[in-house]
Structure formats: C-alpha cells, structure tokens
C-alpha cells in the first residue's frame, strides 16, 4: 500500500470494491447451481449435499459478511453523495469502523442461526 493511500476512507473504498467484486464473482456461480434444478431434483440435491459440508458453511458465513460489508459501506457512500454534508470535511469517517463491526455482527447472527 503506497503511503498516500494509507487512510481510512481509502480502506473503505478497498473494502467496498473487493466485496463488490467477490459478490459479482459469486452471483454467476449461484445462478449456475440454482439452474441445476432444470436437470431435475436429483442434480440439485446432489449439490445440496455438498453444501452441507463445513467448508461450505464457512464460505456462506464469508458471503454474508461480504454482503454486509458491501451494504454498510455502500450506505455510507449513498449518504455522502445524496445528503448535504452537515459541516465542511465531514466525510463520516467515523462510520467506517462501526460499519465493519456491524458487518461482523451480522456474520455472528448468521453463525448463531446456522449452528
């Protein structure tokens, strides 16, 4: 990371971008697996057996956290761009860390629900 980038707002950008790309990469795979049902319930069920593996559960947790990160960082961006700033320079940097906490809280709730 070059020195001019090492500040919170840039990390928020990186978090939003990386989670967005990861989710975009996930979606086609999601649709592909859903499309297995077109081949019959047996095809889908054989995949759903795989989805019960612990590795899949961890990946699902990652997916939920990524979604939540993208959601909360995206909310900050929407707020910054659509709502007049209440004072000069107030770029809501103090939303960034709580956004991460909230994302991991969502992840924890997911884990509690699954386990």
């Amino acid at each position: 990371m070059r020195a001019h980038r090492s500040h919170q707002a840039y990390w928020a950008f990186v978090g939003h971008r990386v989670s967005g790309i990861a989710l975009a990469a996930f979606l086609p795979l999601h649709f592909l697996t859903l499309a297995l049902v077109l081949k019959g319930t047996a095809a889908l069920d054989s995949f759903l057996v795989l989805a019960e593996m612990p590795l899949f559960k961890i990946a699902e947790w990652g997916l939920v956290v990524l979604l939540a990160v993208h959601f909360f960082f995206g909310l900050r961006l929407l707020f910054l761009e659509l709502h007049p700033w209440k004072r000069a320079g107030d770029s809501r940097l103090y939303w960034i860390v709580p956004s991460l906490f909230a994302a991991f809280l969502v992840g924890a709730v997911f884990v509690a629900g699954v386990v």
Partner: protein, 255 residues
C-alpha cells in the same frame, strides 16, 4: 576516540525524467528545517543542476509541492522532523503529471482540466452596475466558502488514484473549482459549468477514496465538492425538462 560529527540527513532525490534514478545526498540535520530547505541545500551545495519549483516558501503560492516519502505535500510547510524516517527522506516529483526533470513536472494538463470543468468565471454585471449583494450566510455561499481557498498546488490531483487510472478524469481540484462556480450566484454560466463538470471524465468518476481531502494542505474537501456536484447533476437530470430547469436557465442569462 569518538569524533563528534553533526547529525546528518540522508536525502534520496529523483533525478532525471521517467527513466531517471534516485541519488542520495547527505545534508546536515538542523533543528528547524523544512523539506524545501533540504532540497535547496542539495541544489546549492551538491547538485547545482537539480531542477525544482518554489516561489513564496510560506505556503501561499502552491508551487513547491512534491512527493515526500510517498505522500504529496507542500515542501515549504513540511518539517523534516515530521516526515523523516530513521534520518532518511525520499523526494520525488508529484504523481499523475508528466515529469520534466528531477522534481519539476509539467502542470499544463492539470490547468487545462480547470478550463474543461468550466472553471472560468463569467460575471453577470458590468463595472457600471452595483456589485451583487451576496448573503454570506446563504447555503450556497457557505458551500463556496468551504471550497474557495484552493491555490492550485495539485497535491490532491497527485494523491488521487482515479486520476492515475483514467487520464480523462478532471480531478479533484478542477471539480472543486466547478463546485464553487455552480454555487456562485454572480457566475453567469452556472448551468454550463455544471454540464461540463458532469461530462465524461467529470464528477461521476469519483470513487470517494478521499485521498484529496486527506492530503489537501489547505484542509479543503474536494470529495465533498464532488459529492455536491453529483447531487446537483442527479437533480438536474430529474428536472431537466421541467419548469425548474427553465427557472435555473433564466438565472444564468447575463443581466
């Protein structure tokens, strides 16, 4: 026997154009020393051919900005003590502009973008007319005041990664200028400036990385100005064929 040697500073300075190299100079470390002092000392005592820019030396002119240890800064207002790492400093020209020689870069493209963003003021009154009465507490004037102190040093332009990725992008300084004009009720071409700031390479390209506001030596937040332009462009799109747009256009006609 220990020789008592004065503390020295190891300064790596970029020499040449794009295919140049870093050269290291040793200069005495002093109690009160800015990075610009160091560059000047290198030029006076070690390397007379060293090219760099400065004028006022007190943070008014905006010509001495360079990349110091990877961060764009006014060298005249940067104390060595604040940035030196284990007695070393690395000084390069600003990013995102063609290098001319050593620490000087070609800022023509940067200034051209000010014009492209509609940054030229066009008054609504002539000198025979009374000056416009602008309420300093009005919402628009408060927005202008927050962004008006820019001195074109290009620190934000150098800090912005979107400028590096997209050479068409007008950059934080030019868009910040446009924001001051679209909020200036004395500016006759507010709609034109907004249209130019919304074009390809305009405000829509900003990714809100915030490096411009992080590094602006004056404390301006171009991110905020660009967010304002985005908001205004959205509104102008929503009402573009309606009475509100006509009313807006009317206010733009020179008196």
């Amino acid at each position: 026997m220990d020789a008592v040697s004065p503390k020295s500073l190891s300064v790596r300075i970029w020499r040449g154009k794009d295919d140049g190299r870093f050269e290291t100079y040793e200069v005495p470390a002093r109690d009160n020393q800015t990075v610009l002092d160091v560059v000047t000392e290198v030029q006076r005592r070690h390397e007379p051919a060293l090219a760099y820019r400065f004028a006022c030396r007190v943070g008014v002119c905006g010509s001495c900005a360079m990349t110091v240890n990877g961060v764009p800064r006014w060298t005249c207002r940067t104390h060595v003590a604040k940035v030196a790492e284990a007695g070393e400093i690395t000084i390069e020209p600003l990013r995102n502009m063609p290098r001319i020689k050593d620490l000087a870069c070609d800022m023509a493209g940067f200034f051209d973008k000010w014009q492209k963003a509609g940054g030229r003021f066009t008054g609504t009154r002539n000198r025979a007319e009374p000056p416009a009465a602008v309420d300093p507490a009005s919402r628009k004037r408060v927005a202008v005041d927050a962004a008006i102190e820019c001195i074109n040093c290009a620190v934000c332009y150098s800090a912005c990664d979107v400028v590096s990725w997209n050479e068409e992008y007008l950059g934080p300084a030019a868009l910040n200028r446009a924001w001051t004009l679209v909020n200036d009720e004395r500016h006759a071409l507010r709609r034109t400036t907004l249209d130019l700031a919304m074009e390809q390479g305009g405000c829509g390209n900003c990714h809100t990385q915030g490096s411009c506001m992080r590094h602006c030596p004056v404390g301006i937040s171009p991110t905020e100005s660009i967010a304002g332009l985005k908001r205004m462009s959205l509104l102008s799109f929503l009402v573009r064929d309606h009475a509100a747009a006509d009313a807006l256009a009317k206010t733009e006609e020179p008196a």
